[in-house]
């Protein structure tokens, strides 16, 4: 466990940079983490991030498939918005743990 200063806040992160305490998250922190991942957050990104936070913080398991079926974004667009590894990047930016799903 380590602490990292993001946007002037001390936040707890794991060695992969995922925030350990979702309560410490705010939108400015999201913008900063996204920058490190090379992503400029748009309103669409935030709609997806809000959806992810809502689901994960209520204890639901998320997978790429669930996100594709959420009605918030389709899988193709999800890949375009978070290029490379969408589920990993989106959860990291959303300040929640990385989902442990294989799909």
């Amino acid at each position: 466990m380590a602490t990292k200063t993001i946007d002037g806040h001390q936040v707890e992160v794991n060695d992969e940079g995922y925030m350990l305490n979702p309560e410490q998250w705010n939108k400015n922190i999201a913008v900063e983490i996204a920058k490190e991942e090379g992503i400029d957050l748009s309103d669409k990104h935030f709609t997806i991030i809000d959806y992810i936070r809502e689901k994960i913080l209520s204890g639901e398991a998320l997978s790429l498939r669930r996100i594709g079926k959420s009605g918030v974004v389709d899988i193709k667009e999800f890949y375009q918005l978070f290029p490379g590894a969408p589920l990993k990047k989106a959860t990291k930016i959303a300040g929640v743990p990385k989902p442990e799903s294989c799909v």
């Binding site: 790429l64 498939r65 669930r66 594709g68 389709d74 899988i75 890949y79 590894a85 990993k88 799909v103």
Partner: protein
């Protein structure tokens, strides 16, 4: 373990040569998992693996109830081979497998191919096997990018950090 060639995995080529549920899904899960990690993935279907991309057969894949020593009944009792030969048993067992997978959020084959190609994964069919089974491009799902030879397939493997996986 240290190595001079400590290249990160950048590309996987996955060969699917068998057509049972577990064989096809092994390939699909590996390919989708790669794409999700930002690793380039190319799937090559050959021989009975072609069932996964055949419009006619992709929704009808089964798991073998005869000659499958790993198959057990609920409760872990070995599945008797003589039951497996009865009409409808293989279909029933296969339907049960698919139901269990659905519970784990593992999609049907066509939806899985949608997910893989949505992330930039590519799907190819083997020229020799399609010739052998007298299949044409129009018999295959629209996910298939091309019908290619083994040589073409190896041609896709160029670049540092590439691995070929045979499931």
């Amino acid at each position: 373990m240290s190595s001079k060639n400590n290249h990160q995995l950048k590309k996987v080529l996955i060969i699917c040569a068998k057509g049972s549920i577990e064989d096809i899904y092994a390939s699909l899960v590996l390919a989708n998992g790669a794409v999700m990690e930002g690793i380039e993935a190319k799937l090559f279907f050959t021989f009975f693996g072609l069932d996964a991309i055949s419009k006619k057969r992709m929704k009808k894949i089964h798991t073998a109830t005869v000659g499958n020593p790993s198959l057990t009944m609920p409760g872990g009792i070995p599945f008797p081979t003589f039951l497996g030969i009865l009409p409808g048993v293989e279909a029933g067992v296969s339907a049960m497998m698919k139901k269990q997978m659905e519970k784990l959020d593992i999609p049907p084959v066509d939806e899985f191919l949608d997910m893989i190609t949505a992330g930039g994964g590519e799907v190819y069919a083997c020229k020799m096997a399609t010739d052998m089974f007298k299949m044409k491009k129009e018999d295959l799902t629209e996910h298939v990018k091309d019908i290619i030879t083994v040589g073409d397939f190896y041609g896709l493997a160029s670049g540092e950090g590439t691995q070929i996986i045979f499931t």
